[in-house]
Amino acid sequence: MAKIEDYAPLVGQFVIDDLRLLADRLKGKVVQHINSTSVGGGVAEILHRMVPLLRELGVDTRWDLIKGGAQFFDVTKKFHNVLHGRVEEITQRDFDIFMETSQINIDEVHIHGDIVFVHDPQPIALIRKKQDNKWVWRCHIDVSEPNKKVWDFLMDFISLYHAAVFSAPSFSRRLPIRQFLIAPSIDPLSDKNKDLPQEVINGVLAKYGIVRDKPIVTQISRFDKLKDPVGVIEAFLQVKKYIDCQLILAGGSATDDPEGAKVFQEVMEKSKKNKDIHILLLPQNDIEVNALQRASDVILQKSLREGFGLTVSEALWKAKPVVASNVGGIPLQIKHKYSGLLCHSVDGAAFAIKQLLNSPDYARKLGENGREHIRNNFLLTRHLKDYMLLFLSLYHQEDLVYL
């Protein structure tokens, strides 16, 4: 596991010095993170990396989990989907199931933090244990157009917190409590983002039978309608009429998601007979994702909707030119024509890919700018800084705070 000083060569020693200054101000406070799982998913991934670093900085940080059965997590998955804008029926029974498990957790979870940091809707009802400590609710979901019934249900809890945190300005709405903007981050030293030797990259390409004899355009994302893999193929086919190139569409298994399986089938149908389209059903293997991104000439993220879209940060950190949809947190990561190209349609994506493949110098410059933008704004060290400032802000109401 990386140490805090390992980040200094990437972000500058002064960034690490600032983190130490902030950590000093939090001495004596216990920060307790609570979420629903220790494995899988973005929240667990980020906590696995942040908690040890906060501890190393001297912030007493703990991490606890709530418990729940399959029924509870089916309901919270439904909540997640409808908060993201999907249409699904939510019944009173769903709310009852949610509250039954929440009550068990309220009875059993031991709250010992001066600051209790609750992630996502699953543990949200724990706020009923609020005493004289500080409570923050961290929303990792795109709630720009949430299902009203579920949002209203959650609001009864949210309004009891001291503060809420969202990942993008468009996810915010008027709330009776303070709300902060904290974007997620990538870890530059993780397997998904660290530098790789060329042999490793070549090895992964060889494993999947990809020959680097023509430019590679890649989208990494699960086979989900919202990631628009069919649109990616359509854009690629438009480009292919003019430029001899190949497409990699790589993502996780879709077996547990009936709709995902259908999308995968559609993708296979659309790509058959074209030997320049590589559909890779990847196991969870960060090194392989890293290698495929590094082997690419252009990276695409043609999502129809995004929570934040950290694959864009991952690609930009590797200084790759990126074409991505102007949705969710993507415009925070890409400033059009400076650190990548934004698009709104299949035609727009195709045009942007052609531009980048035909103008390698321009593409290189966008990639380099993108890497610097990520260095300044979307690395784990910035995330650590924001979290510590958030903790401090719970004790200060002013806009200008002298510590």
Partner: protein
């Protein structure tokens, strides 16, 4: 022999957290009304964010209002007028806000059709404000040589605080560096040199290099 101050310059750093207001605008008149009402910390955020987020270059006009009006609503002329507001001329957020309001009002008066333009869903202007935390660092300087050495290695946030934030948000008459050089070292010429350029047109790292260069040339002379 370099002049040595009795009271050293203490370098502070400033770290900011973005607080969401939940306020959003879809048209220029809505934007204008909210600009009139939001806390100064929000005006500060939207006129200074670019400096922090794009330390390596400045791709955006120097304020978010200008960027949104240009890129989302397509009112290039008003965007340019807002982008070219000479921020360094304004000593307080209040003055800066008034200038922004006056610029938009004058434009809407002579271009009433601009009021009809709407941002598409998802492209609304979201008002955010900066919460700043100011902390002392371990660095102090008694003379110009020490001062230049600290400038080379101090966090960029410290330079940002002393040059931009102390002047505008704390309403000090000039930037902190120039003030100390003039009052504690008695070097008015150098202080003037340091206040003369427009820091808003530099990236933060270029600002650091320029300050170090000016001071080192002064030491050499």
């Amino acid at each position: 022999m370099l002049a040595r101050a009795q009271d050293p310059f203490r370098f502070y750093t400033r770290l900011h957290l973005s607080e969401l207001t939940g306020l959003r605008a879809t048209t220029i008149p809505q934007l204008l009304e909210i600009i009139k009402e939001v806390p100064g910390a929000s005006i500060y955020h939207h006129t200074h964010r670019f400096l922090q987020q794009h330390q390596y270059l400045s791709p955006e006009p120097p304020n978010d209002f200008a960027y949104w009006i240009c890129e989302v609503l397509g009112e290039d002329m008003l965007g340019e007028m807002l982008a070219s507001i000479d921020t360094i001329q304004y000593g307080t957020i209040r003055d800066l806000r008034e200038k922004i309001v006056a610029t938009i009002e004058a434009y809407l008066k002579s271009n009433p059709t601009a009021k009809m333009k709407f941002a598409r869903q998802g492209e609304e202007f979201h008002f955010v404000k900066s919460v700043s935390f100011v902390l002392p660092t371990e660095y102090v300087a008694y003379d110009l040589k020490e001062f230049a050495e600290v400038l080379k290695k101090i966090t960029i946030e410290s330079i940002y605080f002393h040059v931009f934030e102390a002047r505008l948000r704390l309403e000090r008459s000039s930037n902190d560096f120039a003030f100390w050089i003039e009052t504690s070292l008695g070097d008015r010429a150098l202080a003037e040199q340091i206040t003369k350029f427009d820091p808003y047109t530099l990236t933060l790292e270029n600002l650091r290099r320029m300050l170090v260069g000016i001071i080192e040339r002064r030491i050499a002379s």
